[in-house]
């Protein structure tokens, strides 16, 4: 929402002050860059001090990307759908459809056909969700849960019928991989630089190296889709109309927007994106389809989107965070233990900031938290694997608990809409 009557009151001090107060809630672009840089220095310092090189190794970053893409695609799917006002809990089901149809298409006609068929499979789930919620007006969450049940059931049956005679189990035969990109000169250079374990320099080399080594074309496609979605949804008339259906469908209708059509488009695209996430899981993260392979990543994608405040950049950060902790835990590294120190430092920073703002209660609480994490770090040698697996979920809960007042979902998100209801 823009400040009312800005043109007339530009010089007015009160208006400027008001703008400043409004701006305070949001981070400015330089501020975001500064925070990212600070985070990097902190991570690097911890890596250097505790000698846990896996924190920023190229393997870890590569693993993070591989785990973040399915989550990010589900989150992006959720963004499309919810921006048009349809809550999509069915993302998990559409992800499952993507894994099965991706594997089947790839097995039948080769990798790229697999990508296409997987996305179509996800889109099919999206179309069903659109039919049930938009045309029939059923509660969105209920429909989503039903689609998850149906997708799991249908793919379980299909896998049994199609794959079982071939491999005698509910999994696909090994699939041919998609192209992996290694940037010719850069990858080896960065690998050697990373091996020196210099402060900051090696960390940067590890991070960039993780991105440019063994990069899947699907990862590139996923990033392109994120950027493309941002431009399409926020910079074009189409996107404005689509988002208006999520904010105030009656007003959109009064301006001649066919709300049903836009909702259908959004939810079908949403399914296709989740389907692509599924394709990624069967063709890049692994090379076969297995029953129950998704492990609830569709739900995590949804959480990443909410974490990211229904914005593309935010959901990318959320997906990255989930991918990072997931990867650390899967690699079974002791690096997680060093992260405890990072959390302690982070909480200390927050405490200082709160105390400077004279918010003594929050400051004190953060200080106690920082002390506890530091104590945990000092008195133990490792963090139990089960608790590490919890991290992304706990972080999401904490972020929601502290930031949910600042989050703003589309105003008519999840509200059933009937054509002509505003008359």
């Amino acid at each position: 929402m823009s400040a009312p009557d800005n043109t007339a009151g530009r010089d007015n001090l009160a208006v400027r002050a008001l703008d400043a107060v409004r701006a305070k809630g949001r981070l400015s672009r330089p501020m975001i860059y500064a925070l990212v840089a600070a985070g990097l220095v902190l991570l690097s310092a911890i890596r250097y001090l505790t000698d846990s090189n896996d924190l920023t190794s190229s393997g870890q970053i590569g693993g993070m990307l591989a785990l973040a893409v399915p989550i990010g695609m589900c989150g992006l799917g959720g963004l499309w759908s919810e921006r048009a006002g349809v809550v999509n809990i069915g993302l998990e089901g559409m992800l499952i459809l993507g894994t099965f149809f991706g594997a089947w298409g790839s097995w039948q006609w080769g990798p790229w056909a697999g990508v296409l068929v997987g996305m179509l499979g996800g889109a099919l789930g999206g179309a069903l969700h659109a039919l049930v919620t938009v045309t029939f007006g059923v509660d969105h969450v209920v429909s989503g849960v039903a689609i998850n049940l149906l997708a799991a059931g249908a793919t379980g049956y299909l896998a049994k019928v199609i794959f079982d005679p071939v491999v005698h189990s509910k999994q696909s035969p090994p699939l041919r991989p998609l192209t992996l990109i290694d940037v010719p000169w850069l990858s080896p250079q960065l690998t050697s630089l990373e091996a020196h374990h210099w402060f900051l320099v090696s960390d940067l080399a590890g991070i960039v190296g993780g991105v440019v080594t063994g990069l899947s074309v699907l990862t590139v496609l996923a990033v392109a889709l994120m950027v493309g979605s941002y431009f399409l949804l926020w910079k074009t008339a189409f996107g404005l109309r689509l988002r208006s259906c999520g904010e105030n469908p009656t007003a959109a209708e009064s301006l001649g927007v066919n709300v049903y059509t836009y909702k259908y488009i959004a939810v079908i695209v949403s399914g296709a994106l989740a389907g692509l996430g599924g394709v990624f899981m069967v063709m890049v993260s692994s090379s076969i389809y297995q029953d129950g392979q998704t492990g609830g990543r569709g739900f995590i994608g949804l959480a990443a989107m909410i974490f990211g405040n229904w914005r593309v950049g935010g959901l990318a950060v959320g997906a990255g965070l989930f991918g990072y902790t997931d990867s650390l835990q899967l690699r079974g590294s002791d690096a997680v233990h060093s992260l405890l120190l990072g959390v302690a430092v982070l909480l200390l920073g927050i405490a200082v900031r709160m105390l400077l703002r004279k918010n003594y209660r929050a400051g004190g609480a953060s200080l106690v938290g920082a002390a506890l994490f530091a104590l945990w770090f000092a008195t133990t040698n490792e963090v139990p694997a089960q608790l590490v697996s919890c991290t992304p979920y706990v972080v999401t809960l904490v972020v929601l608990a502290f930031a949910s007042q600042r989050l703003r979902m589309p105003k008519a998100d999840g509200v059933p809409y009937r054509k002509g209801q505003g008359k």
Binding site: I89, L128, V132, F136, G137, V138, D139, V141, V142, S143, V145, A146, I147, L149, L150, A151, A152, G153, A154, G156, Y157, K160, V161, D164, G296, F299, L302, A303, I306, P384, Q386, L387, S389, C390, Y393, V394, T396, L397, L400, A401, F402, S404, Q405
Partner: protein, 389 residues
Amino acid sequence: MEHATPGGGSRSLSARYARLDKERLLLGLAAPVAAILFAALVTAIVLLISGKDPVLALTDIFSYDIKPDSTVYILNRATIYFIAGLAVAIGFRMNLFNIGVEGQYKIGVFFAAYVGGVVALPGPLRIVLVIVTAMVAGAAWAGIVGLLKVTRGVNEVIASIMLNYIAVNVIAYLLQPNLLGFSAPGSNDVSTKTLPDAAHFFTFGSYGGPIWGFVVIAAVLGIGFHLLLARTRFGFDLRTAGRSDGAAQASGVNVKKMVLTAMLISGAIAGLIGVPELLQDSFSYNLTFPAGWGFTGIAVALLGRNNPLGIALGAVLWAGLDRAAQQLSFDGFDSEITDIIKGTIVISVVVAYELVRRYGLQRQQQKVGRELAEQAAAAAGIQEKEAAA
């Protein structure tokens, strides 16, 4: 979500009211029946495409389910699903989607199994302790969601989903030999300590096998659920808040307190879901304890329209499909077909309920319109007579 409750029709004439009510009842039954028929049709098509005989499969399901040992199995299973359905339904009636029943029942049964295994008490007291622990632990886990919602405005669906994952990991962490777990000497299997024979719940002997005594507790819960919602001030407030929290607030209901209470009750019932299995079959908790009953509860509650009787029917249907799955694989079918049936039933039943609701609303509007027209005509007639006189 809107819930059609019986008795919402016009009360102008009692005869008409009764007729309308019967109509509503028929309409209400039409939806699930249509959904089941539709699911059977979809299943038949799927089977035909995969080259199997659909008639044989469907008759298989029915003929096998009415065998005595099947009916006992179904009844015992349905006990679990019924409790799960109730746990979800109480949230739905308050317009809360407790998708976290899945995590709450796991937490509930895990702590109940642990406490029941280590606290030395005589049999019946131990059973009571197990049940109370399960309810308290389930309620506490749900309470986190409730607190986050009322104090920080966190959406209950997302918070519940996160807590489902956290629950699984917390249990995996605590279920280690040096923590709350127990592993018999010479064995690698970790579980909680096994309950002694005295702490087993009673069963009814029958021709088809032992029927779980917990079915009685489930029945009591169902009746209590109905009475709580239909006959108490609390139930009225809860349903009001579920339909419109603004209206509830205006009539003096503390909506935040209602949200928290509803979550706690839902969690307490959820805690009980795993208890029949614990007290009648497994007698300890390990990592192979069945999962997914919370999601079954959602399906059953949707099918049963959040009404105890409907939930009971839904639970029996689900248990019947489970049972049939075992037989189908013997007869050369792929047992996964029952999952397609279940998924199709859920999605078509929610659509059918919505269509029926809209149709009923339309009929009601037409009826009210007709009555108003009659009244207007009658009033006009009187005026004409007066004018003539």
